[in-house]
């Protein structure tokens, strides 16, 4: 290692802060969201070569422009939120479930399977219940498999759940090929199984049910014994063991819940759509986006309502911008904007967790501390006088040090004191002090 590099000191240093008031934290996050919004606007303005305001106008138009768009927006919100809150118990437990995509997809597959097998044979109400059960059970199985291995052998869950996504995708592709042997890769719209128009208007039932599930989950996490146990496991496995929590049981139970909620989302994606069908891209990356939603929402279901809304708002809005200005594929553009949004908001989280202390401030403080009252008054002196003074300061300093050292108190700050000590030794040392000063 080059020694000169080690001597390099950055102009600031970081301290971790744990006591940031929540209003301040939310102010930082709010500013980050605004910055992300403005930055997206700038990017879009450059790309469209258009006017700056056009971006914002189109974002709002894309999100709320028509009644249908607004409904689509809230449907997208409900789906993203549901998958997001499915992740909350797992993440609270520090179980990195990045397999929500697959868990949701197999849930949807189970629903479609039920429609294929039972559609038309039993009344629609019974079919929908069967779909619900199938989705929840299959989703839970998909979620619990990695959990079992994690609980017993401590298998890395991040990569396990990630792989399960692709197995789910292949399973869906396989099922589609079985159902559509002509090789079209699409099974078309299914006749039965849709319940989305239950309240007269499409999607309303989804939005209502998801909101209810969100509230229930909040209560579960915050006030139930289960919720407490999984939080303790997340904070410290050893503590959990110490207070008598069966860690394995908690991991498995929590992942059953997480997978089941993802399966529920799959049920909504099939039955909650006016055109029930399935393809390998049905979940459309929501399983991954939901991770970011959950994390940005501090794993609090109510805050996540807001973060999920921001994300779908940006998605719908930026897709509209791309369509209006014809700058490439709308989903690609919205992916780009969402990516920028996430990066900026993630970066801002740093300011919530760490405090930047600039060196200049500290140096000034130190300088003030070191200055003696005498020196503080500026005097114009000649060089000789200065040397004399230095010598006397050195002597006095050393004398004082000797005096203090008897009490083991060598203090750095210098306060002029007149103490009577005389010895040759002191004089000798004074010279070295002086050299150092030079």
């Amino acid at each position: 290692m080059a020694s000169k590099k080690i001597n390099f000191e950055p102009p600031f240093h970081l301290t971790k802060r744990t006591d940031i008031p929540s209003w301040k934290a939310w102010l930082i996050r709010g500013v980050a969201i605004v910055v992300a919004f403005l930055f997206s606007g700038i990017v879009s303005t450059i790309l469209t070569k258009g006017e700056f305001g056009g971006f914002f106008e189109n974002v709002f138009l894309g999100a709320f422009g028509t009644e249908r768009r607004a409904l689509n927006l809230f449907q997208a919100w409900a789906m993203l939120l549901l998958i997001g809150i499915a992740l909350v118990p797992a993440f609270k437990m520090k179980f990195w479930n990045i397999g929500a995509e697959g868990q949701t997809l197999v849930g949807a597959l189970a629903s479609v399977f039920m429609i294929k097998e039972l559609g038309g044979k039993i009344p629609d109400g019974g079919l929908i219940v069967m779909m619900l059960l199938a989705s929840i059970i299959v989703g839970a199985i998909w979620g619990v498999l990695p959990a079992i291995f994690k609980a017993i052998w401590n298998t890395n869950e991040t990569l396990f759940t990630l792989m399960m996504n692709y197995i789910a995708i292949q399973l869906v592709l396989f099922a589609i090929n079985i159902w559509a042997p002509n090789g079209s890769g699409a099974i078309g719209v299914l006749k039965n199984g849709s319940f989305t128009g239950a309240f007269g208007v499409n999607y309303v039932i989804n939005i209502v049910l998801v909101t209810i599930v969100t509230v229930i989950l909040f209560v579960y996490i915050r006030y139930s014994k289960h919720g407490y146990e999984l939080t303790v496991v997340g904070e410290s496995v050893n503590t959990a063991k110490y207070i008598g929590v069966n860690v394995r049981k908690v991991i498995i139970r929590t992942m059953i819940l997480s997978g089941a909620l993802c399966g529920l989302a799959g049920w909504f994606l099939v039955g909650g759509s006016p055109t029930p069908t399935i393809n390998s891209n049905l979940v459309a990356g929501r399983g991954f986006t939901a991770i970011l939603v959950a994390w940005l929402g501090q794993l609090n279901p109510f805050i996540m309502m807001g973060t999920a809304f921001l994300v779908v708002f940006f998605q719908a809005g930026s897709a509209q911008v791309a369509t209006t200005y014809q700058i490439g594929d709308s989903s690609a553009f919205s992916g780009l904007i969402i990516g920028i949004f996430f990066i900026i908001v993630i970066a801002a989280e740093f300011l919530v967790n760490y405090n930047i202390v600039f060196k200049t401030r500290r140096k000034k403080a130190e300088a003030v501390k070191k200055t003696t009252p005498e020196k503080a008054e500026e005097k114009i002196i000649t060089e000789e006088q200065f040397e004399e003074e230095l010598e006397s300061i050195g002597t006095r300093y050393f004398e004082r040090t000797i005096a203090k050292s008897e009490n083991f108190e060598a203090n750095d700050t210098f306060t002029p004191q007149k103490e009577e000590t005389s010895s040759e030794y002191a004089l000798e040392e004074t010279n070295t002090e002086e050299k150092e000063d030079k």
Partner: protein, 318 residues
Amino acid sequence: MFLTFIHSAIRFSTTFLFGSTGETITERAGHLNLGIPGIMCLGAVGGCIGESLYLKGITDYAQINGFAAVIIGILFAMIFAGAGGLIYAFLTITLRSNQNVSGLAMTTFGVGLTNFLIPQVNKTGFYYISVCFTNYAPGADKAGWFSELFLTYGCLVYVAIVLAILVAGLIKRSKTGLSLRAVGENPAAADAAGINVIRYKYVACVLGAAIAGLGGLFFIFDYLGGNWEYTIESLGWLSIALVIFSVWRPNIGIAGSIFFGALFILPAYVTVGFAYNELIKMIPYLVTIIVLIATSLLNKKETQPPASLGIPYFREER
């Protein structure tokens, strides 16, 4: 037939190998970069942009200088992917963000940016560029099975294999590799030993990303012959799986990537019926899970992920 199968498996494996070698370097420094799929896309689009700029300056396709074309592709891919890696590195090292979240955001961003940019790249003439990538020594194909198996690949295949061996050797035997491993296992101890942890982490993240980006470049210009396909993302996820499969050793990754490549192209060579092809494509993922379980069952120190993988390092935290 069998020879052709092995040949294409090795060829296809290069994408995985670049991706997993890059990711291994990153993970050895304690950073699980889930942004690799996005970064590989960035590498591919970077290569495309570089080549289209190169073609702009050329009036006749006969003028294409093979060496220059390949170098430009590599440079642009590495710069684009490296820039993606730098964003990830800044987020996770300097800002100490959660690595999973930052990586996923990087994938969203990379894939979004790539899908946005790629329709705007002028891809005419890419076939001629791809020829430069797939070219091999003249006469090699006429010399029997040996040369078909070992000599008839484009240059990037060899680059990937040499790079994997080199990186594996560096990690295992050199002082730099030892320091890198120390940073990944216990950054506080490495810091105390005088290793510049931050610098190691930055270099590992950016270099790893740049190498992974070559995977995207290879896939477009060698394997697909200059055509574009939106499948790089899923190959990126498989590359991450391959890192586990290879238990964080790029030299094992060579065999692993060939295995993955073979499984990936298998449906084209066996007749199991059209629907069951999708089940065969499931095998790489299943095998990865089995390896994952097996390594956790064995619980040997050599086969475990770097101890501080996923944990941000903050010097003042005790």
